[in-house]
C-alpha cells in the first residue's frame, strides 16, 4: 500500500471541516494546523471567483524533512506516510526549514515538531484519515495510489492533476484536481494586511517591486507560519565563526605581528574552545527538548548536516583541546601540529553550515551558491578580529590590523556581490531584496567600514594602549557587523511565503 491524497478542488467548498476535524482528531494546538484551506480570489466584478485550496503535508517520496532530521524522528514508512516520532524529536525545527510546504509546526507544550501523518493511528486500524471522512463534498480522496483499481489511482490517471512545487524534487504525494495555479504557487497572489474574516497571525511578506503578483489575484484567507529560527541561530553562526576564525589565524599570529608569549600560545585555543562551548550551548538551548540533545550523538541520522556538523564541532573541539593540553605539557611541536590541523577543521567548522542550509530546501535564499566561501571568509574576518586584540610585538608592523581591514573590505565586496547577483529563483530574489533592505536599515556597511578603519588605525598606532583600544573596538565592530548580517540573512530566508 502506497498512500496519497487527491484533493478535488472541483468539489471543495472551502468549509474548513477538514481543518477542524483534524484539530480534533490530532489535538492540534491553536495557532498551528496540519491541514488548512487557503482562499484566493481572482478577477474583477462581476467576473470574479474565490478559489479554495486545501494545503497540507505532501508525504513526499524524497522528504527533505526526513533527510535533515538529526535524530531520525521523521521517517518514511513503507506505506509512504512520513511520520514523526514525538519521543525522538529534539525540537531543533530544522524540518520546518527543510520542508518547502510549511507542513510542520512546533508544539509549544511538548517542545517537539508535529505534522500530518495521514492519521497513521487510524489507518493502522483500517480507518480513513479524519479529514477524509468529515468532508461534506468528498473532495479529499485517500487510498492506495499503487493499486491501479483504487479510486485515487484512477483519478490521478484520468484527470489532469497538479502538485505543489515539483521543482523542489520532493516527490509530493498530494495530487490536486482543478486547483488554481496561483493558489499552489506561494507568493503568486497579493496578500492584504488582514484576511477576509480573520486576523493574520503573521504579517504579510514585504512587497518587492517587480516581483509582486498582479493585483487581480489576491489571497484572502490563509493561516500563519511564524519563522522558527531566531536569535539562537544567527548568534551561533557568529560564535561558531569566532571559534573557527581563532583556529584559522592561530598558526599565523607571528606573521601578523602578535607578540610571542602566553597570549600567542594559548589565547587562540582558549577562544576557539570558549566559543565552541558557547555555540554548543546556543544550539542546545534552542532545542525544544534540550535534555534530548544526546540523541543527536547517540541516535544520529548520518545524512543530516546537523549531525555531521556536530561531528565536525567535536573533532574541532578535540583537536583544539589537544593543542592546548600539549602546549601546557610543554609539547610545543605536537601542539603546533594540532594547531595546524585546526586550520582545515576550522574551515569545516565554519563552512559545514553551508551544507546544512543546503538541506533547508524550503528557504531558497539559503540555497544560493557560494555560501561555503562566504562563511569561511567571515570566519577569517573574525579570526583577524581575534588577532587584533592580542598584544603586538614591539617594533614589528602589526599586520593583524591590515588583515582585518582587508577582510572587512573583502567581505563588504562579497556582500555587495551577494546583493547584486541574480539568484536562481524568484523566492531567492525576494529574499535577496529583504536581505538588502535589512542590511541597509541596520547600517551594516558603516560598521564594516568602521572595523576596517579601526583595523588600519590599530596597525599604525604606536602606543600600546591606543592600539589595544583601537583593536578591541575594531573586533567589537566586526563581531557586531556580522551579528547584524547573520540576523538579516536568517530572517530574510524565512520571510518568503512558501505555502
Amino acid at each position: 500500500m502506497q498512500v496519497g491524497f487527491v484533493i478535488d478542488q472541483r468539489k471543495c467548498i472551502g468549509c474548513h471541516a477538514c481543518t477542524v476535524a483534524c484539530k480534533q482528531e490530532n489535538e492540534v494546538p491553536l495557532g498551528s494546523f496540519r491541514t488548512w484551506v487557503k482562499y484566493v480570489e481572482k478577477g474583477t466584478f462581476p467576473s470574479v471567483r474565490r478559489h479554495f485550496t486545501v494545503l497540507r503535508c505532501n508525504q513526499c517520496d524524497h522528504a527533505p524533512c526526513v533527510e535533515i532530521c538529526p535524530v531520525n524522528a521523521l521517517n518514511k514508512r513503507p506505506d509512504a506516510i512520513v511520520d514523526l516520532d514525538r519521543d525522538k524529536c529534539i525540537g531543533c525545527r530544522a524540518c520546518m526549514q527543510a520542508c518547502p510546504y510549511d507542513a510542520l509546526y512546533f508544539h509549544p507544550d511538548t517542545g517537539v515538531a508535529e505534522k500530518c501523518h495521514y492519521c497513521a493511528h487510524r489507518t493502522e486500524l483500517g480507518l480513513e484519515p479524519a479529514c477524509v471522512i468529515v468532508c461534506p463534498a468528498e473532495a479529499i480522496v485517500s487510498g492506495d495510489v499503487s493499486d491501479p483499481e483504487s479510486k485515487i489511482a484512477r483519478l490521478i490517471q484520468d484527470e489532469p492533476t497538479s502538485r505543489r512545487r515539483l521543482e523542489k524534487g520532493t516527490g509530493p504525494r498530494v495530487w490536486y484536481i482543478d486547483a488554481l495555479p496561483e493558489a499552489l504557487v506561494p507568493g503568486a497572489a497579493a496578500e492584504p494586511a488582514a484576511w477576509l474574516w480573520s486576523d493574520r497571525a503573521t504579517p504579510p511578506p514585504p512587497r518587492v517591486a517587480g516581483l509582486d503578483p498582479v493585483p487581480d489575484v489576491t489571497t484572502t484567507l490563509d493561516v500563519g507560519h511564524a519563522p522558527q529560527w531566531g536569535w539562537h541561530v544567527w548568534t551561533y553562526l557568529v560564535t561558531k565563526n569566532i571559534a573557527a576564525g581563532a583556529a584559522l589565524v592561530a598558526p599565523f599570529l607571528g606573521l601578523l605581528g602578535v607578540r610571542a608569549g602566553a597570549a600567542r600560545d594559548y589565547v587562540p585555543e582558549v577562544v576557539a574552545l570558549l566559543f565552541t562551548a558557547i555555540t554548543s550551548v546556543l544550539l542546545i538551548h534552542d532545542l525544544g527538548r534540550p535534555e534530548r540533545f544526546w540523541r543527536l550523538v547517540l541516535r544520529p541520522n548520518t545524512k543530516s548536516w546537523l549531525v555531521k556538523g556536530a561531528w565536525v564541532l567535536m573533532a574541532f573541539g578535540a583537536t583544539t583541546s589537544a593543542s592546548l593540553v600539549l602546549r601546557v605539557l610543554g609539547q610545543g611541536m605536537l601542539a603546533d601540529v594540532a594547531r595546524w590541523l585546526g586550520v582545515p577543521l576550522g574551515i569545516l567548522v565554519s563552512g559545514y553550515s553551508a551544507w546544512l542550509f543546503a538541506q533547508c530546501r524550503g528557504r531558497d535564499l539559503w540555497l544560493e551558491r557560494g555560501l561555503f566561501t562566504r562563511l569561511v571568509l567571515r570566519a577569517a574576518f573574525l579570526g583577524a578580529a581575534v588577532a587584533v586584540v592580542l598584544p603586538g610585538a614591539p617594533g614589528v608592523l602589526h599586520t593583524a590590523g591590515a588583515l582585518l581591514a582587508a577582510l572587512s573590505l573583502v567581505n563588504t565586496l562579497v556582500l555587495g556581490g551577494e546583493l547584486r547577483h541574480r539568484p536562481r529563483t524568484t523566492d531567492a530574489r525576494k529574499a535577496q531584496v529583504y536581505l538588502g533592505r535589512a542590511i541597509m536599515k541596520s547600517q551594516l556597511p558603516l560598521f564594516l567600514a568602521g572595523a576596517a578603519m579601526l583595523g588600519t588605525g590599530h596597525m599604525v598606532l604606536s602606543g600600546p594602549v591606543p592600539a589595544a583600544v583601537c583593536g578591541a573596538l575594531a573586533a567589537t565592530l566586526a563581531t557586531f557587523a556580522l551579528l547584524l548580517y547573520e540576523r538579516a540573512w536568517i530572517r530574510a530566508g524565512q520571510a518568503v511565503a512558501i505555502s
Binding site: 470574479v48 471567483r49 493511528h121 487510524r122 489507518t123 483500517g126
Partner: protein, 931 residues
C-alpha cells in the same frame, strides 16, 4: 459511506494488514471500540470508547454525530459523523467537530445562576435547580390561576427540536410561544405559503437538471451540510448552477453563474426568467392546467368570459410581458443575456428545476416575500413541484411524530405575538416585542429566552436592553442557554442547558426527497447507563449541573400543578406508570413505539426495542423516497365535493381536489391547488399583490444618492464556520473567523477615500458603527456588506460572552435614549484549564452592527427588512474601531414610521388571520376571532 458489517477494520493491536480503508468503525463494535491515542503516537496506546450517536445542535440542519465516550473517564474524546444518518450521511461541516470545544469550554456556565444585584449589574450567585423550579412554578401557577395566559412567554432562538414545546405551552393553556422567525425567514415563508400552504421549500438538489440558489447552501444556512452534499452530487453529474447573491459567496464561486443584481431587485430578475420561459414556450402546460388555480384568476380578471386554459395562457403572457430581459437588465443591473440564458436553462430543466430561498433577498427587502413567491413561480412554470430534481413542500420531507396525550389548543390569542396590523405575518412579530411593551400593549410576567439573544441579534438592541431592564415590563426573566450571551446579562436567572451531546431532542428536516428523524441524546448519560449506572436527571451525568430542557419542562410543569387541579399535570404523567411523573426516557419510548411508522419493525429485526434502536442508530429513515405527494389519492369519506371548484371539504375545511376524475390530496390551500392567484390576499385587503410580482424595495437604487456616499448595507450574510451567537464557545471556529470588515468595491472605496484596513463610519437611520474597510471585487458597486456573524462583546469586568470571541466593552448612556459602546480592549490570551487559552493569537472579534439598525417590519409579512440605507464616510477623528452609537428615541420614531405602513384594517368578522395559514401553537377556532 456506511461501514459494512464484515469490513476490514482491524482490531486494535493487530498488525496492519488491511489495504482498503473504511470510513467508520463497524457498528457491532460501537460498545467497545479501541483507538490509538494520537497524543502518544507512534507509541500505540489504546483507549476504549463507547460510541453514542447524537444530533448536532449548532445549526438547524440536525446532522448526525457520533460521540466517542471514553470508557474509563466518561469524557467525550471526539465527535465524528454518523453514517446511519440519512441527511448528513456520516459527513459534517466544521461546526460538527467544533462541538467538542463547546463541551470542554472553560468559560461555560456549569450551574444555574441567580442575579443578586440590579439587572445587568453582573452580580450572580449559584443556585439550585430545586430553587429555580420552585420560583418559576409559583409564578406561572399564579398567572394561570389568575387567567393571565398571555403573560407567560417562551421566546426561542434555535428550536432544535420538533413538537416539544407545543405540548408544554398548550398543556399550560398559554399563548406564549415567541420565536426568532421574523428576523430570519418570515418573508420567504409567506411567499411559499401563499402558493401551497407549506412555508418552506424542499429542493431535491441531487437529481436536479438546473439549480437556482438565492442562498449560500454550499457554506451556510438551512441545511448547509446535507444540501451542499446534494448540490455537489448534481454538479458532479453535470447540473448547472446559478446563484443570486449580492456579495461573492463561496457558493457563488462554485456556481456557473453568479448574479449580483441591485439589492431588492431580485423579484424582477426572477420574473425576467419567467418572461423568457413564457415567451419561448418552455412552460409545462399540462402541469399548470392540472395543478394551478388559473380558473380563479380568470373568474376575477375576465368575469363572464369562458374560463379556458388558453385564455389563461394569453393573460399570463400579457401580465409578465413587461419583464423583458432588457427591462430586467436595466432594473436589476445585470446583463440581458444572463437573464435570457439562465431563463432558458430553467425552462429546459423542465420538471427538474431545484431552487431555494430562505433569507437572502427575501429577508433583506421590503416586499421580500415576493422573491420567494416569484421563485416558486418558476418551479410551477417548469412543472418541478414534488418531482425528482424539483422542489417539494417541506411537509413532504419532514416527519414530526405525534406525542402521547396531546393537550387541547389554548383558548387565547396574544396580540403581543400576532398583532392586528399584520394578519398574514410569518410568524410572531418577535423583534417588536420591546416596542410593543414600550407602547403599553401588554406585559410579560414570566419570560423565558431560550438559545435566544435578541440584545445582540435583533435590530435595535438598545431598545431591548431598555425593556429587559424594566421590571414593570418583564417580570421575571430566565435565559435558558448553553453559553453566555449578551441577553443573558440582562436576565434574572441564567439556566445552563445542554449542548448537542448533552440533551434529548427529536428532529427532522427536509434535507432531501426522503423523510427521517434524528435523535439527540445526552451521550455521557447514555454511555454510563449502558455501563449500568442510573440517573434520575440528565444534569447528574452532564458536566456540572447542565440540564436539558425536556426534563426541565417536565419538572417545572409538574411543580406548576402538583395536585392536578389546574389540568396541567395529566400531560406530564407516565404513559406506562399511571399517575407517576413522566421520565424523559418514557417520553421517547412512547413516540418510538407508537408514532413512527416502520420503526418498531426495524427494531424487531435487530431484536431490540424501538427506543434502543434509536439510542444505537441515532436516526431512522421513515420513508426513503418521497415524490408527488400532491397526487396521492385522498380519503374523502364523509367529505363533500364542491362540483364547481372541484374541491372536497370536510367540516368546512378543504381536504382534497378532484384531479383526473378522482380525489387527490393536492396542496394545503383552500383550492387544494397551487395558488398562482391568491384569493386570500384579495380577501385581506392586499388586492395589489394577488399575483407573484415585484415590489420595489426600501433600498431601491432610486432612494440612494451615490454622490453623497449613500449605500445599501447588506448585513445578512453568514460565514461557513460560525453559528450566529452560539459559536463564541468554540476556539477552533473563532481561530478561523474573527472579524467582519465592511466589503466595499474599489470604485466606491476610492470615492469614499478609504483603502483596505482603513476605518469607516457607517451611519444608519438611528446611529452609526465604526469598522474597517475590506476593498474587494467581490461586491457590487453601490453596495457594502458586513457579515452578521461577528462583533460579540462582554461588559468590562463582568462574566459574559466567551473570551475566545468577545472583547470587553464599556456601554455608556450620555443622555436619555442615547447609547454608546466602546471597546476597552482586544481579545487576548487568558489563563484557564485549557492550555490553548494562553495561545489565543487573534485580537479582533469584529464589530456589532445590528445595534445600529432600526426595526423595519415589512407591512405584510412582518419580516424585519434587514438591508439598510447607510452613509459611508471615513471615520472621524475621535472614532475608534468597534464604536457604536445609537439614539433609541430615533429608533422608536422609525418603528412608528414602519408601523404606519401596515395599513390593513381589522376585519368586520373579527377574524385575526386566515384560518388556513399555518400558525405555530395554533389556538382554538374561537381565539382566531376577536371578541
Amino acid at each position: 459511506m456506511k461501514p459494512t458489517e464484515d469490513s476490514a477494520v482491524a482490531p486494535s493491536g493487530a498488525a496492519w494488514q488491511v489495504t482498503k480503508l473504511e470510513s467508520f468503525p463497524p457498528r457491532d463494535r460501537w460498545d467497545d471500540w479501541v483507538e490509538y491515542d494520537p497524543k502518544a503516537w507512534p507509541r500505540r496506546v489504546e483507549h476504549h470508547y463507547r460510541l453514542v450517536p447524537t444530533i448536532c445542535f449548532n445549526c438547524e440542519a440536525a446532522c448526525g454525530l457520533v460521540a466517542y465516550v471514553d470508557r474509563e473517564t466518561n469524557k467525550i474524546r471526539k465527535l465524528e459523523g454518523n453514517p446511519y444518518h440519512p441527511g448528513s450521511r456520516g459527513r459534517n461541516c466544521a461546526k460538527g467537530p467544533a462541538t467538542l470545544n463547546q463541551v470542554d469550554d472553560p468559560e461555560r456556565i456549569l450551574y444555574p445562576l441567580k442575579r443578586v444585584g440590579p439587572r445587568a449589574s453582573g452580580q450572580w450567585e449559584r443556585t439550585t435547580w430545586d430553587e429555580v423550579i420552585a420560583t418559576f412554578a409559583a409564578r406561572i401557577r399564579k398567572a394561570l390561576v389568575e387567567n393571565r395566559r398571555t403573560e407567560v412567554m417562551y421566546h426561542v432562538g434555535r428550536p432544535g427540536h420538533d413538537g416539544a414545546m407545543e405540548r408544554i405551552l398548550q398543556a399550560w393553556g398559554v399563548d406564549g410561544h415567541n420565536s426568532h422567525t421574523n428576523v430570519c425567514s418570515a418573508a420567504a415563508r409567506l411567499g411559499y405559503e401563499l402558493w401551497s400552504g407549506s412555508d418552506r421549500p424542499s429542493p431535491d438538489h441531487a437529481n436536479a437538471k438546473f439549480i437556482l440558489l438565492l442562498s449560500a447552501h454550499l457554506e451556510a444556512g438551512h441545511y448547509f451540510n446535507p444540501q451542499a452534499q446534494r448540490i455537489l452530487d448534481a454538479k458532479n453529474a453535470g447540473c448547472k448552477i446559478a446563484t443570486v447573491d449580492i456579495r461573492l459567496s463561496n457558493t457563488a464561486s462554485m456556481s456557473d453563474w453568479w448574479i449580483a443584481p441591485h439589492p431588492g431587485s431580485e423579484a424582477a430578475l426572477l420574473l425576467g426568467f419567467a418572461h423568457v420561459i413564457l415567451a419561448e414556450g418552455l412552460e409545462d402546460l399540462e402541469f399548470m392546467r392540472t395543478w394551478v388555480n388559473w380558473d380563479a384568476w380568470l373568474a376575477v380578471r375576465q368575469p363572464g368570459e369562458p374560463a379556458t386554459f388558453e385564455a389563461f395562457r394569453a393573460l399570463l403572457r400579457a401580465e409578465y410581458a413587461r419583464y423583458t430581459p432588457e427591462w430586467v437588465a436595466e432594473e436589476c443591473g445585470v446583463e440581458a443575456d444572463v437573464v435570457r440564458d439562465v431563463g432558458r436553462e430553467i425552462g429546459r430543466a423542465r420538471g427538474a428545476f431545484a431552487s431555494h430561498v430562505w433569507r437572502n433577498a427575501a429577508s433583506g427587502n421590503r416586499g421580500g416575500w415576493q422573491v420567494a413567491r416569484c421563485l416558486q413561480f418558476l418551479t410551477v412554470l417548469t412543472g418541478s413541484v414534488n418531482t425528482p430534481g424539483g422542489t417539494s413542500q417541506h411537509t413532504a420531507n419532514k416527519f414530526v411524530p405525534a406525542r402521547w396525550r396531546k393537550p387541547p389548543p389554548q383558548d387565547v390569542w396574544s396580540e403581543l405575538l400576532f398583532p392586528p396590523e399584520w394578519p398574514l405575518s410569518h410568524h410572531e412579530l418577535s423583534f417588536l416585542l420591546p416596542h410593543f411593551l414600550k407602547e403599553g400593549r401588554g406585559k410579560v410576567d414570566v419570560y423565558f429566552t431560550r438559545v435566544y439573544n435578541p440584545v445582540w441579534t435583533n435590530p435595535d438592541g438598545f431598545t431591548w436592553m431598555e425593556v429587559l431592564q424594566d421590571e414593570s415590563k418583564i417580570g421575571l426573566h430566565a435565559a435558558l442557554t448553553p453559553v453566555w450571551s449578551e441577553t443573558a446579562l440582562f436576565a434574572d436567572y441564567v439556566l445552563p442547558m445542554g449542548l448537542g451531546p448533552e440533551r434529548h431532542d427529536l428532529m427532522s428536516q427536509e434535507t432531501h426527497a426522503s423523510r427521517w428523524i434524528g435523535f439527540r441524546q445526552p451521550v455521557q448519560r447514555v454511555a454510563r447507563e449502558r455501563a449500568g449506572e442510573t440517573f434520575e436527571w440528565t444534569w447528574q451525568a452532564n458536566p456540572g449541573e447542565v440540564w436539558e430542557e425536556d426534563e426541565f419542562w417536565i419538572a417545572l410543569s409538574w411543580a406548576v400543578d402538583p395536585d392536578g387541579s389546574l389540568g396541567v399535570r395529566q400531560y406530564f404523567e407516565s404513559p406506562y406508570r399511571p399517575g407517576e411523573r413522566l421520565t424523559v426516557e418514557e417520553q421517547y419510548r412512547w413516540i418510538f413505539e407508537n408514532a413512527v411508522p416502520g420503526l418498531p419493525a426495524a427494531a424487531a429485526r435487530e431484536a431490540v426495542t424501538p427506543l434502543e434502536y434509536m439510542r444505537r442508530h441515532g436516526a431512522f429513515e421513515v420513508e426513503p423516497v418521497v415524490y408527488g405527494t400532491h397526487t396521492a389519492p385522498a380519503d374523502v369519506a364523509g367529505a363533500t365535493l364542491d362540483m364547481e371548484r372541484g374541491v372536497w371539504s370536510r367540516d368546512g375545511k378543504a381536504i382534497a381536489v378532484q384531479s383526473r376524475g378522482a380525489p387527490a390530496i393536492g396542496f394545503e390551500t383552500p383550492s387544494r391547488k397551487l395558488e398562482f392567484f391568491s384569493p386570500t390576499m384579495d380577501d385581506w385587503g392586499y388586492s395589489d399583490a394577488v399575483l407573484p410580482g415585484y415590489i420595489r424595495s426600501h433600498v431601491h437604487p432610486s432612494t440612494l444618492d451615490r454622490a453623497r456616499n449613500e449605500f445599501v448595507l447588506v448585513p445578512t450574510f453568514r460565514l461557513p464556520t460560525l453559528i450566529h451567537t452560539r459559536s463564541g464557545n468554540s476556539k477552533w471556529l473563532y481561530e478561523l473567523s474573527n472579524r467582519n470588515p465592511v466589503w466595499i468595491h474599489p470604485q466606491d472605496a476610492a470615492h469614499v477615500g478609504v483603502a483596505t484596513g482603513d476605518l469607516v463610519r457607517v451611519a444608519t437611520r438611528i446611529g452609526f458603527f465604526v469598522n474597517k474597510a475590506w476593498v474587494t471585487e467581490g461586491i457590487r458597486p453601490g453596495v457594502i456588506a458586513c457579515s452578521h456573524h461577528l462583533g460579540r462583546w462582554r461588559l468590562e469586568g463582568q462574566p459574559g460572552t466567551d473570551r475566545w470571541a468577545a472583547p470587553p466593552v464599556r456601554i455608556e448612556q450620555p443622555g436619555p435614549g442615547r447609547w454608546r459602546v466602546r471597546r476597552t480592549g482586544d481579545i487576548k490570551p487568558f489563563k484557564s484549564e485549557d492550555p490553548d487559552s494562553s495561545r489565543v493569537w487573534w485580537t479582533d472579534g469584529g464589530v456589532h452592527q445590528n445595534l445600529t439598525f432600526a426595526v423595519q417590519p415589512d407591512p405584510i409579512s412582518g419580516m424585519h427588512c434587514w438591508h439598510q440605507k447607510v452613509t459611508v464616510t471615513r471615520a472621524e477623528r475621535d472614532d475608534r474601531y468597534g464604536d457604536v452609537e445609537v439614539d433609541t428615541a430615533a429608533s422608536m420614531q422609525a418603528y412608528h414610521e414602519w408601523l404606519a405602513l401596515a395599513t390593513v384594517k381589522p376585519r368586520a368578522d373579527g377574524l385575526r388571520r386566515p384560518e388556513w395559514f399555518t400558525r405555530p401553537f395554533r389556538p382554538t377556532a374561537r381565539a382566531y376571532r376577536r371578541p
